[in-house]
Amino acid sequence: MTATIATTDALAVEDLSISYGGGTPVVSGVDLRVGPGEILGVIGESGCGKSSIGFAVLGLLPSTARVEAARLDVGSRPMGDADEEDWNEVRGRVASMVFQEPMSALNPCMRVGAQIAEVLLVHGLADKKAAHARALELLRLVQVPEPELRARQFPHQMSGGMRQRIVIAMALAANPQLLVADEPTTALDVTVQAQILDLLDQMRRTTGAGVLLISHDLGVIAQTCDRVVVMYAGEIVEEGEPAAVLANPSHPYTAALVASIPTTTTAAREDLPMIAGGVRDSDRATAGCRFAARCAFATDACAAPQPLVQVAPDHTARCWRSTELSLTTRTEVTA
């Protein structure tokens, strides 16, 4: 088995770009680092490139996709030039994935205990008997009640929340260094979502696996992550601790996004601040700020390339005005 407690980063990505079919990159210049036992959140609206990143770090993109990176280390493995054989060795063993729909990861015709055991058998990490014992151990770890009984059931005999626990057990079976969870609770009810997020939090503590948690739900990110990156049109526009980034955004997009969501502190029945318009393909191709067409604070100078600049210790934003603007998430931030 691989090391139980990782000492190297779970994920280290530098200058990652992804395009499909030779088109404009849908992800560009992305740097990510997930430390052992750390949860890094990736947040953004649909189409901003979150899932593409998740697939890329597991070598799961279709052949039409083109991935370029200055560095792509998954656990201790440099995967920048990896071929399919290398990925097969890494997937499920060094890094594994939890999807929104647990059924997409489960075989409907196979008992769940056997499915968990198979992960170990495929990688030659255990013999049949040991794999079966480990499957039960994993079911206990992910807090499935009556593990002996559940191991013999088929996925369709379980609730959505229970299935997601099974998927997490499978993902953890080989003691991976990295877990990529793409909207793992989006299909679940909030009380079950709370259980699964709680489980992920416990798992990273007990196994030391780093987690890349992809979500469109700011609440989920705020509650669960140690650090967060905010994506807009394929780029990271802000990064830092959730408490800083979400409560005190430094990028106009983050501020507008946070403001548009009703929460316990928004005034009931009053207009929510809106972000006008949408992302156009040309926004991804521009050399300047990609948010400029929708930004209330845009000036001519925003047409220049925008690097991520430090706005506070451990807090960066891709906006040259971020330190001079006083952004508030609770008033009109759009023009």
């Binding site: 609206e45 649909s46 609730s159 929340g161 229970m162 009810d189 909030v190 009380t191 079950v192 979502q193 709370a194 259980q195 997020l197 709680d198 939090d201 469109h216 739900d217 700011l218 609440g219 989920v220 990110i221 705020a222 509650q223 669960t224 959730p242 408490a243 979400l246 409560a247 507008a256 996004l257 946070v258 548009s260 969501i261 009703p262 929460t263 316990t264 502190t265 928004t266 005034a267 009931a268 029945r269 009053e270 207009d271 929510l272 601040p273 809106m274 972000i275 949408g278």
Partner: protein, 352 residues
């Protein structure tokens, strides 16, 4: 602004006769093995004129079934529906057609009301034509409705697939308001949308309610959205209303342990990490009709009485304002929230 600062005057015309009254609505479906799904297990609710009544609960608790029953899209197994004083379930023919103009629906998926084969105008005109409005007038009113929702210019002559999800939902709303209804039932209208688009639709709904004096029954599993729009909130669990009352009371001082757990489970970007009640297990199957409290199998306060005796939905002395129409179905009202407030850890709570 915090919840407790919210205006406590709950609805415009509190004393007036309700626009719609649902009384003891039951909806049963046959299930495999000769069992019965009790999708609605005796729902009693009033919808006041001009208010937004929010209906919140987890998937499968019966929200959509309630919406369909309220709009006479499916006849309930038992119960009574009064609309503007009249017995709605007894309506037939011309009276029923006239009634349908007064109560309309917006679905989560706009494609449920917009036929992909037809141009937008035809779909928006359809409820008007069904109500017997002459074609020319129907066209005028449909175009006016499209303008009222801020649909893009020329939308009427285009097909639904030419629009984004948010624009399609706007058009579905135009269809719902075209007949100038009094009641609009909205079933998860923003659940499939990105948050920035959700804000646009919520703002539109508020504006239309104001300008057209609409009454909304707003269904969502998203408590923050419910909180934003509703004057009153009803919380459903397993086909029953477990708590109902002014939004500011129910969501700030929940009396039912399920409401307290639901509120505490919602991850709130403003709250970050905090003490939470994490319920164990899933809701039981609606084929097993509980003899006692439906929530007893997951409730950390459950006693023997809870398992044998169904708590009625009644006023509670514990309510902040016991005259404000805050009702709860629980033998131990207020104790779940009290524990959280005092920092006591209910058996099933953890900090994450």
């Amino acid at each position: 602004m915090t919840l407790t600062d919210l205006d406590l005057t709950p609805r415009p015309e509190q004393a007036a006769e309700p626009l719609m009254t649902l009384n003891g609505i039951r909806q049963e479906f046959p299930a495999s093995g000769g069992r019965t799904v009790h999708a609605l297990d005796g729902v009693t609710l009033e919808v006041q004129r001009g208010e937004t009544l929010g209906i919140v609960g987890e998937s499968g608790c019966g929200k959509s079934t309630l919406a369909r029953a309220a709009l006479l899209l499916r006849k309930p197994t038992a119960g009574e529906i009064r609309f503007d004083g009249a017995d709605a379930l007894a309506m037939r023919g011309g009276r029923l057609r006239a009634h349908r103009q007064r109560a309309q629906m917006v679905f989560q998926d706009p494609n449920d009301s917009l036929d992909p084969r037809y141009k937008v105008l035809r779909s928006v005109m359809e409820p008007l034509l069904a109500a017997g409005v002459p074609r020319r007038e129907a066209k005028e009113r449909a175009l006016a409705a499209l303008e009222a929702v801020g649909a893009p210019d020329g939308a009427a002559g285009r097909f639904p697939h030419e629009f984004s999800g948010g624009q399609r939902q706007r058009i579905a709303i135009a269809r719902a308001i075209a007949t100038e209804p009094e009641l609009v039932v909205l079933d998860e209208p923003t659940s499939a949308l990105d948050v920035s688009i959700q804000a646009q639709i919520l703002n539109l709904l508020l504006e239309l309610q104001e300008s057209k004096q609409l009454t909304y029954m707003f269904i969502s599993h998203n408590l923050a959205v419910i909180r934003h729009l509703s004057h009153r909130v009803a919380v459903m669990y397993l086909g029953r209303i477990v708590e109902v009352g002014p939004a500011a009371q129910v969501l700030a001082d929940p009396l039912h342990p399920y409401t307290a757990a639901l509120l505490s489970a919602v991850p709130d970007p403003d709250a970050g990490r905090r003490e939470r009640i994490i319920l164990q297990g899933d809701p039981p199957s609606p084929t097993q009709r509980a003899t006692g409290c439906a929530f007893a199998s997951r409730c950390w306060l459950a006693t023997e009485k809870c398992r044998t005796e169904a708590p009625p939905l009644v006023h509670s002395d514990v309510a902040a304002d016991s005259h404000g129409g805050h009702l709860v179905a629980c033998h131990r009202p207020g104790e779940g929230q009290e524990a959280l407030r005092l920092g006591l850890r209910p058996a099933s709570s953890t900090t994450v």
